[in-house]
């Protein structure tokens, strides 16, 4: 099996063989094969594709990403320290933790908190269940060539989270899915995980006394199902304990909202500033369900965040809000797509961005209103605060409306801080520097304050403050 013509994933074939010896599930192996086949056919997207016009992914071909199947003990100690001392990790939440792409029972506490109506499984646990054998939940929605990273995620699939909120249940605590990547400098070149040892042995490359955990690839996979009338709050976090490690995180989240269910879904991406993050969130909303989401992005050298949402029933309500704050040479690309297929849906999108240094932001908001989807209300707004001199924003609304009785609007702005606002604060004895800081926090707070959960707002601010400091 060839994952790509250029070997941007180290020893992919050996990896698949290795996984096959660990778990024998034929459906899972078939899914991997299909993913790899699709990805190798489509390959990494380039600027020639309209969807990737501003974000060329070809550079990944120059990398060789490694899979890590076990994390060094010292890193786990760092993680323990983090979980004990940082506000971001809280025992008030239901925590499901992955370290370097591997599920960590050590830091996950969902098993200790049995909450009526909530079912949390890792993919490995799911495989042991009756419906897990056929992997129905994973096979239901195949990936297509538009987003090859979905196929790549499937090709690499070995672990993940499956969350079911049972009919009528309301889950009060935040369900926090944490994806941490951490390999500190001295270990990057000489940590040997179980898989790499085997890979080296198989290749009979005895001259490699050590192998490498430099440039990891992780493929987080999450599935959330909210059954009829169920209510829950999920926070999906991606971050690194080390600020400057290079890795590639390729996350996919599938969310299925059954009739009249409500989900608050927060995705917080604060990867290392040298990392690459590609995320795809697919949402299917049935009748009268409510999807209230917030994407928060401060990390990664390059980040691409797709939300693809489809309504499968009438009177749905959708909110996609976001805040991105980037600096230096960071590049953040948000693509949203809301496909209104049924009548009387409401959707609201408000994406705000703060750009410093010579960073770049891309926003592409696609709104489809099909002929059946009469009485749809759909609003979209993208505001950018461009604080750096060499920043660039490409923002593009994409409205495709086939129904005649709808209300849709869109708008986009990009501009600098208003000098009159700075002056006003200065006349109140606030230093210019502080005034600028206060105004950019204000710009961020306007959207952050739309998050109904204070606990989530506070968690996100932990990452926001350092990203704004250099203004």
């Amino acid at each position: 099996m060839i994952i790509n013509k250029k070997p941007f994933i180290q020893d992919y074939d050996l990896y698949v063989q290795y996984l096959a010896t660990r778990e024998k599930n034929a459906a899972l192996q078939e899914l991997r094969r299909q993913g790899a086949e699709l990805f190798s056919r489509v390959g990494l997207p380039s600027k020639s594709s309209e969807d990737w016009r501003y974000t060329d992914m070809q550079f990944l071909n120059d990398h060789k990403f490694n899979v890590c199947m076990s994390t060094p003990r010292t890193e786990l100690e760092n993680m323990r320290e983090y979980c004990t001392n940082r506000k971001y990790y809280s025992h008030d939440d239901i925590n499901i933790v992955f370290v370097n792409g591997m599920f960590s029972s050590e830091f996950s506490d969902y098993l200790n908190k049995s909450i009526s109506g909530l079912e949390v499984l890792t993919l490995q646990e799911y495989l042991k269940q009756e419906d897990g054998i056929q992997l129905d939940i994973l096979r239901r929605n195949p990936f297509d060539h538009h987003f090859p990273f979905g196929a790549l995620n499937q090709a690499m699939l070995h672990d993940g989270t499956i969350i079911k909120i049972r009919k009528g249940a309301t889950i009060e605590p935040i369900i926090h899915i944490i994806h941490v990547t951490t390999i500190s400098q001295p270990l990057r070149k000489n940590h040997c995980c179980e898989f790499q040892l085997q890979a080296n042995a198989d290749k009979k490359q005895n001259r490699f006394k050590v192998c490498s955990c430099d440039e990891l690839i992780t493929s987080p996979r999450t599935i959330i199902v909210a059954e009829d009338h169920a209510k829950a709050k999920v926070l999906e976090s991606h971050f690194s304990l080390i600020p400057d490690i290079e890795y590639f995180s390729n996350a996919v989240t599938d969310i299925s909202l059954q009739p009249r269910s409500e989900l608050q879904y927060y995705k917080s991406q604060n990867e290392s500033l040298k990392a690459y993050h590609v995320g795809l969130t697919r949402v299917w909303q049935e009748e009268e369900s409510n999807f209230d989401s917030f994407s928060f992005m401060t990390g990664s050298a390059l980040a691409r965040n797709n939300i693809d949402l489809v309504t499968n029933g009438p009177r749905t309500r959708t909110t996609l809000n976001a805040l991105y704050s980037v600096n230096g040479k960071q590049h953040v690309d948000n693509h949203t797509s809301i496909d209104h297929r049924h009548p009387s849906a409401e959707s609201y999108q408000f994406y705000k961005g703060i750009l410093n240094g010579s960073s770049r932001a891309v926003f592409n908001g696609r709104i489809i209103v099909r002929s059946e989807a009469q009485k749809t209300k759909s609003y979209q707004l993208n505001n950018n605060l461009v604080a750096g001199k060499h920043c660039r924003v490409d923002t593009k609304p994409q409205l495709e409306i086939f129904a005649n009785d709808v209300k849709c609007s869109h708008g986009a702005t990009s501009g600098q801080l208003n000098p009159d606002e700075i002056f006003y604060l200065q006349t109140r004895a606030i230093q210019k520097r502080d005034a600028i800081k206060m105004l950019s926090h204000g710009f961020a707070d306007e959207i952050l304050n739309k998050i109904p959960l204070q606990a989530v707002r506070e968690k996100l601010r932990i990452f926001l403050t350092p990203s704004l400091l250099t203004i």
Binding site: P419, T427, R428, M438
Partner: protein
């Protein structure tokens, strides 16, 4: 307190002030009236230190630590710390910046500069609520973003609230009466009057005489063409109300 000498100023290359002279002593309230385009707002911006407005000649001497200092090269925040306050005609709306947190930051900056102890959030909250009562302001103000969704009248009250909290030595009130109904004007004027003392001074800039019924000035000046063309006592304001400005231009 403050002495403006032969002040010339321009904005975007347009000369607006052309030799303005004005001296205001401690304990005095001066009013400046004038037709549209006479330079009233420019004078406010110049005193505040707006970066787009440039002094081309003249000076503004202000008493700092018993010495007269020309403030035209001082940053706006430095002037504010030395007790100069501007109540703006059009206060800006700042979404996301909480009104009371902002005011506490401002208050503490001034305390810090003057060597006084900063106030913690709880004490400040009490202090703020007490002052809000003077201006008959709604409690919900505390939780709102600065001036966002405030009515014209609420914005003006908020300016005067800031003035009362920051307790400046020299205040400029730029058209504080615009957008206020008669009842609100009485409340706002009452707030301003409580601040009057022999230690501070005020410059009230207005288009109409009616505000001066509530904030009674010691002196009234008529600004026209960027300089003061006539000065007098409060009767002058009544004369302007009666006869307009044209008779003064001759």
């Amino acid at each position: 307190m403050i002495e403006i000498k032969d002040l010339h100023a321009e904005v975007n290359g347009n000369q607006i002030l052309r030799g303005l002279n004005l001296t205001i002593g401690a304990g005095e309230v001066h009013a400046i009236m004038g037709p549209n385009g006479s330079g009233k707002s420019t004078l406010t911006k110049i005193i505040g230190g707006h970066p787009d407005y440039h002094v081309t000649r003249g000076e503004i001497l202000y008493d700092i630590n018993l010495k007269k200092r020309n403030i035209i090269d001082m940053d706006p925040e430095e002037r504010a710390r030395e007790g100069i306050f501007i109540a703006f005609q059009y206060p800006v709306e700042i979404p996301g910046v909480n009104a009371s947190e902002f005011l506490r930051a401002s208050f503490n900056e001034i305390c810090h500069h003057q060597g006084a102890e900063e106030m913690d959030p709880l004490d400040f909250d009490d202090f703020l609520r007490e002052k809000m009562k003077v201006l008959e302001m709604d409690d919900k103000y505390i939780h709102r973003s600065l001036n966002v969704d405030f009515s014209g009248g609420e914005k003006k009250r908020n300016e005067v609230l800031q003035m009362i909290i920051l307790n400046p030595r020299f205040s400029v009130l730029d058209e504080t009466d615009s957008g206020l109904d008669v009842d609100s004007m009485r409340v706002v004027a009452n707030g301003v009057n409580r601040l009057r003392s022999k230690h501070n001074a005020m410059l009230v800039i207005t288009h109409y005489q009616r505000l001066l019924n509530y904030i009674v000035p010691d002196f009234v000046h008529i600004l026209e063409g960027g300089r003061i063309i006539k000065s007098g006592e409060k009767d002058l304001a009544l004369a302007v109300e009666d006869k307009g400005y044209d008779w003064l231009k001759k």
